[in-house]
Symmetry: D2
Subunit: 403 residues, 4 copies
């Protein structure tokens, strides 16, 4: 994290632009990046610091400069709230309050209301100004804002129609997609960490391709789905026949509040429901529920109940309870993805990066949902990126960075 | 399962000789093999029927002929008991009672008392007579008898000393090792499905090598350890720091009764405890307990409680409850292993078959404990075996079968 | 259970008329009553056989004669299905198949469609004919049919209006209330074992009063709510402040299928949600969910997750998983209630019997929801009934039985 | 809590003398009493503030003066440690650090080594000096020190022999009993909050009687046993036959460390094991385990697994997980007991106070283990104490206070 601009300029200053910059996930990620850069925190939870991933030649966490869009609030206040509920250490917040305030000052007002040309231009200009002001090689845009309801109308648009309807002020785009449009236009790769639509419509997939930009998604895999992606392959490779998989989630905080809205929850339960059947290859009944329990704050508890048949049809059961802190689980993955997508951009990867499926509930660009297989795909990809860098005789930097 | 000897002789009639042939696991495996051969049961739970494993060119379940050693009891009675407690379908037992009785008639008295030459010779002769009588290509010996206490004295013997002390009648061998000695002398590969010592002492490892015999072990991975081998890699690849992993098991039945003896339980908890640290690569505190609850019968319940650190040190928890039927989980793996070790023998594999670590808590011949990695190793090995067979133009049979 | 009419007539032959006589609960209760009468089953699960309750002077289980209303199906077939899914012993079903068929032959077609005078008269005549044919002292009508959606319109009716609109054929009565009307008109006490409306509307409460009939309800407390009624008082008397109580239920079978309909589930979640707040006396957030998982068959699993504050605000958690068999939990309570309500009728109790709140989620006639307090109320009441009987010098029978 | 001695003297200044005054439980109780007296904390967790108990006419929490025996350490440091692990609020510790230091200065060195007359005299003198110095009406001695192994030899002593062997310096008394001897000699009632022997030997029971002193015990019921005392009666009153009850506890902290010693754990598992069978009246198999997991700190997790038979023998299961903070659960009960035993002393109660069984795993003076029944006994007793006080026209004080 670079905050003291008078220091010797780092090699690959990289912007990390959050959509929802003052939310819990972005605040935790920002605090963590600052703490890591100062040596105040261990690298626990950071996949990108594991040797098999780090070998890809990633930008340092201390090379990240954070900014973003959001509506209201304050990163500093949010950090204090998170400390009060045990998500982040109070001492770390106290020590880094000034740095958090510096990041907060970079946050620009987000989009609200209609998806028109003027708004798109303004959002794009914000990102470009951030890049210019901080002399950044690139800016990765990461969506960690509130989950939106599904947006079926946006899927029918061509890029040409989208452009025309932005001009008309009638584009049927949800906010996440308008942000993605602006990000691509600003030359930024995009990470969709939520189940919102974002760039996942034909018009924007075409735009990313045209502009030679990588993007990654969808919906970070942090808790129950992580367990499903881990456990379902066990049943598959042991030839045990899963008969039902019921999944119940309770959580508080802002995310819980958003998901108390059935329309928004529909986006989430859709991505949560796909893993088990994708791994097993046959239909498995069972509900997937998300309920808001305000008292839990930023903590979430998932209970999964699985019935399965063994040899000679003997019926058995497994139950799992996962008690995690949503922001603490998501924040390091956000930093991982920013670093990995920045590297993909640097070496000229275009379109959805399927090799990053390890991180997502609904892995765009990949049909693989089993965690261990996703891990192998990821680490092979990272090895390739690292070899490319070494072949060039320049540790961790590709010869002719794309974009 | 071949019981009607007047049928057209199958291609590779293979013996499956159980140590503990009248126990719950062997009875369930025997019943299942009979039921599968008659088309009375689906292949649920049989790893060897999954395409990636079956491609190795394995003997058919209907080519297996079952016999074994045991002390007392009756396979038919045991099968009825298992049906009464819901482990196997009562209708299947009723339909196959005569076939079970045929197998029971092949069971020879096991060893008890001192490990001397005469006993070893008798056990060896039993296996050889079984092979001759049923015209079997080979006999795989599978230990599913009661878990023994650790036997530290046996580890110090050389093969020469072992032979001498068998002659003297003073060999410090536990029964499982005496059986393994006899099996190797009879030219049989061995599968150690329990945590007992079996062939896992230098003298017997040397014997297996000398006789060019494969063997596999140790301690089938059927429940809690299966979960550990599945879940620990998730923590590792997500860079989450596991702080404690507490594991409690309750079970009834014969296995539970045996393990109520602290000496026998010591063998079991030793193999159960190694997985998590082997996968993670750092020490993790937490008890591993096995307790006998007679009321559970053949069912076992495991509760695992895991604490781990996430980003910025945030502490989280996972709990898993596994409610399985011990025999129903173990029996198909026993058939899988018999088929795979028979194939290994056929193609001339010698010594511990590390590629079978997928099946074991304490995988002899391999340092890998992560289930998905073990699965990959297994399926690659099976692919190689299959390719070898095809290269020879003879489906499923290697050119110069060993033994 | 009286099936052999040639036997010496028992003292107090009592009819047990099920609404939903061929459903799982009624079939299990019928089978159990037959088995108990023959000495084929222990009294496990029968509250009415505990000394503190039995002292009330209840009719013997062998004095019950079972009949009922239902639409289609067969008690014998249902019993075989229940045996196949492990709810009842197959041997018991086989031994009592003829007796079950005898009961099945007494089942009359139930109501469907409009609530009019003709239907009411027919239902009433069925009950009266059953009483006459079997020479019964009284017939207790027990509703164990499928849960209905709430029926708000029925609550506004006076008895006079109800009678007029039955004549018109426009009565806004759900089936459960039409049955209750017919039962009261037939002089029968009623037990509402489901959350359906039944007699719980002003018009029918007035009718019961007018006819001096007792009735009891509502919604049998068999699983999760039983736990809530047990555990919530612990928090109350330990001054621990419950902050959230989340309750998730999965079940298969007919009940699960019915409750997959959100309208029917609304009746159930309403009664399930009241216990905790009623005991604690303050609002407690948290979802109450019921989901259908067909694979579970007649089995249901509930997961409750509770957060609470202790001393100095320290936050703690409790989780409970309950894995029960719905019919096996409900059936003995149905027999208990039939015996207790018969006794209430015998001694002239009129209106809702609040002393039976121990059995219900929504105890009509009582504000007490704590299980131990309900138990105390029940056993005091039973002691009083027993004392009355003894004072009369006639074991178990009141001097001037009502009805 | 009285710290400012210049204030108007309160009505009934009462001493609370902790054995183990610098341990987690005593520190949390002390902090809580100070916080309550200053109005810095709610009364959550304090049973003695519930109206049904408070009516007994108890001393105010602000009338308690805390002191005690301990070996080493510091209450202030311990409080900071507890705050760091989330047991108590850091702000409360900071605000009350001076008051905690004042209490710490009153702590006298505890006993270690032989049980002789000189040590007994010194311990007695400490308590008497504390009473005199602070002008206290009485001093209640509460044992919250580390659990000792069972002490079978002490049970054979008569009081005469005990006195003689104290003179000889050969008394076979564990420390907890030597403290109890000294406390009684100082005229103090005693509360045994641990499973250690304490006053529970004939010689000391005789001494308490002779001196007209009340005492209460044994082993505070704070977690798993609280659940057992709550849930076992549910099975009993529903006539469900419990077949097994397995109980596993993991905890860290000092208590966990002590209980990692099998000898000390034996005391604890003995008191933990009695509840279920005492309530149900028949033997129930199943292990009771306590294991030390340092990582859990002051937190403990219990997993209980229960199997039971329902109607027609249908087997069902219940599982409970309890995640609590040991000190936060115990501390308010310690204050409750001090206030209640002080009141018992005031009104002249002598010997074990069975009415306080609500608080204990092994309720001395009572055979009742069901929580709701214990609650009723407690509140009736409190009502009686309150009525006595009112009859005297003097709120909360009995006419002829003992001591």
């Amino acid at each position: 994290m670079v905050n003291d601009d008078s220091r010797t300029p780092p090699r690959r200053r990289t912007g990390l632009w959050f959509l929802g910059a003052r939310g819990s996930v972005a605040t935790t990620a920002t605090l963590g990046a600052l703490a890591l850069a100062r040596g105040h925190a261990p690298t626990t939870g950071l996949v990108s610091e594991l040797p098999d991933v780090a070998r890809a030649g990633l930008v340092g966490v201390d090379e990240l400069v954070v900014g973003g869009h959001d509506v209201a609030g304050s990163i500093v206040e949010r950090a204090h709230e998170l400390a009060a509920s045990g998500v982040v250490p109070a001492a770390t917040v106290a020590a880094l309050a000034d740095d958090l305030a510096t990041v907060d000052a970079r946050v620009r007002p987000g989009a609200s209301g209609t998806a028109d040309r003027a708004t798109a231009d303004r959002l794009q200009a914000d990102i470009e100004a951030f890049r210019a002001e901080h002399d950044l090689e690139r800016v990765v845009v990461v969506d960690v804002s509130s989950t939106e309801p599904p947006a079926p109308d946006a899927h029918a648009l061509t890029l040409t129609e989208l452009e025309r309807r932005l001009d008309d002020g009638t584009a049927p785009l949800p906010a996440s997609s308008l942000y993605a449009y602006a990000a691509f236009r600003a030359g930024s790769p995009v990470v969709c960490f939520t189940p919102s639509t974002g760039p996942r419509i034909p018009a924007l997939e075409e735009l990313a391709k045209t502009l030679h930009l990588p993007w990654a998604g969808r919906d970070g895999k942090t808790g129950e789905t992580l367990l499903k992606a881990t456990l379902a392959p066990m049943f598959a490779t042991r030839a045990l026949a899963v008969r039902s998989w019921s999944a119940f989630n309770i959580l508080g905080g802002g995310d819980g509040r958003t998901l108390a809205d059935p329309a928004a929850a529909a986006s989430k339960t859709a991505t949560k429901a796909m893993t088990v059947e994708a791994v097993l290859g046959y239909p498995v009944e069972g509900p997937v529920r998300i309920d808001h329990v305000a008292d839990l704050g930023d903590w979430k508890t998932a209970w999964d109940h699985v019935t399965f048949d063994g040899f000679l049809g003997t019926r058995m059961r497994m139950q799992v309870t996962w008690e995690g802190c949503d922001s603490a689980l998501a924040a390091p993955l956000v930093l991982d993805l920013a670093r990995l997508v920045a590297r993909a951009h640097e070496v000229g990867v275009t379109g959805p990066v399927g090799e990053l499926g390890f991180f997502f509930k609904d892995p765009v660009g990949s049909a693989e949902h089993a965690l261990a297989a996703q891990w192998q795909t990821l680490t092979r990809w990272c090895a390739g990126l690292g070899d490319a860098a070494r072949a060039d005789g320049h540790a961790g930097v590709a010869p002719h960075g794309a974009a």
